[in-house]
């Protein structure tokens, strides 16, 4: 007999364990959560999105993805904790309850399942997908350089051996295309949030150009307020800004694509690091990381709920 109460949220887990836990979560909250397969990965693993919905038809929705870069383990670990948080707070947290009474949340915890498995079995430092590249011995594409947003521009590599290889064409990676197809076919997403690790940043578009987006002031204001809440828990300091201005110019990124598609509230998180571990953040920091991130996520989601467009 299994229960989400016996699941250790303060530990890193394999893909199989996370997928199995998803079934448990769905079984415990059948009126709130469904697990949808949105397609298969390059190596034919299913990609599951958890849909949190209290009913209605094609309600406005919020997209959250974690784990697009395989070695950033704290990202999907935060996704797991967040899914459980949404499930357990619905009905008790008035704000989240009101949000879910008008909107749906889609959470893709393992956006790059092949890469994630590979980090458990072969190379803990693997970042990309596992697709084969024609004419090269090097495998994989950086799935956050593969979106149709300034694709092929500065800040992405054309070399298959690079960790930031953009791929042969936009949406060439099946993992990216599966998400693109879902978002487009749904047509009513109002926010798109992608969760990475580690630099302690909250970013908004653009990455492929250093030009300001039309909603720069609003996104910046939302980001700063969200980070203020995040910081209030443990004092973790974050920077806020456009990808291009606070990290570097990077083309083909997911939130640039979502913003250009018309999803105004597009953000990317770089979760915390203690300055000592990088991608090997100790598991005892998963829950603190997820807890502080939740405050920022919740702020963004509440803002989206209160500012329909």
């Amino acid at each position: 007999e299994r229960s989400t109460r016996s699941f250790n949220f303060g530990a890193y887990h394999t893909l199989d364990t996370i997928y199995s836990w998803m079934d448990t979560l769905v079984a415990e909250h059948p009126n709130l959560i469904t697990k949808q397969e949105i397609g298969r990965s390059y190596e034919n693993r299913p990609m599951y999105v958890l849909k949190f919905s209290t009913g209605g038809s094609n309600r406005p929705a919020i997209w959250i993805d974690t784990g697009i870069h395989s070695r950033e383990w704290v990202s999907p670990a935060t996704g797991v904790w967040t899914a459980n948080k949404i499930a357990t707070d619905y009905g008790t947290d008035a704000s989240l309850t009101s949000l879910l009474n008008t909107m749906d949340i889609y959470l893709l915890i393992l956006t790059n399942p092949d890469g994630y498995v590979y980090t458990h079995s072969n190379d803990r430092m693997w970042r990309k997908t596992r697709s084969r590249n024609s004419g090269s011995i090097c495998r994989g594409v950086d799935p956050n350089r593969n979106w149709d947003a300034g694709f092929g521009g500065p800040g992405a590599s054309s070399s298959p051996c690079s960790d930031s290889y953009r791929g042969p064409s936009a949406h060439s990676e099946i993992e990216v295309k599966n998400v693109v197809d879902l978002i487009k076919s749904h047509g009513n997403f109002k926010a798109f949030i992608s969760v990475h690790a580690y630099s302690q940043l909250l970013m908004y578009p653009y990455g492929y150009t250093c030009t300001n987006v039309p909603h720069q002031a609003e996104l910046d204001s939302i980001g700063r307020a969200a980070v203020q809440k995040l910081t209030s828990l443990y004092g973790t300091s974050y920077k806020v800004g456009s990808i291009c201005k606070i990290i570097y110019q990077a083309s083909g990124g997911s939130i640039d694509w979502s913003y250009n598609l018309g999803i105004k509230y597009s953000f990317a998180f770089e979760l915390r690091d203690t300055g000592r571990y990088g991608f090997i953040l100790p598991s005892n920091q998963i829950i603190p990381t997820a807890s502080e991130t939740w405050l920022a996520l919740k702020h963004i989601m509440e803002y989206v709920r209160d500012h329909p467009y």
Binding site: Y12, H13, C161, D163, S199, I247, I280
Partner: protein, 94 residues
């Protein structure tokens, strides 16, 4: 499995544009098989580089030769990964 025995992650707190350019030159070179965890882009953000054991002395010589200050963030990556793996195993058994 890939083994990271003796690999270090070094952190560079970049102090000038010139240092950024020198690190960017390192980034494009494939000779030392460096893995940039955080890229050289600004003096406001640190640069973290995973350096294979075989390249450690060359990289450190390069940084010292150009007066680029650095510290060792992770002394032996494999030790951390072994701890991580052992912890996962214990958790799985539990």
């Amino acid at each position: 499995e890939r083994i990271f025995i003796g690999d270090q992650v070094i952190r560079v707190d970049v102090q000038s544009e010139e240092q950024i350019q020198l690190l960017q030159a390192l980034e494009t070179s494939q000779e030392w098989e460096l893995d940039f965890w955080l890229h050289p882009v600004s003096t406001e953000l640190p640069v973290d580089i995973r350096v294979p054991r075989s390249s450690l002395s060359s990289v450190k010589d390069y940084l010292q030769a150009h007066s680029i200050p650095f510290s060792v963030m992770i002394d032996n990556l494999q030790e951390l990964l072994d701890e991580e793996k052992a912890e996962m195993e214990v958790n799985r058994m539990r």
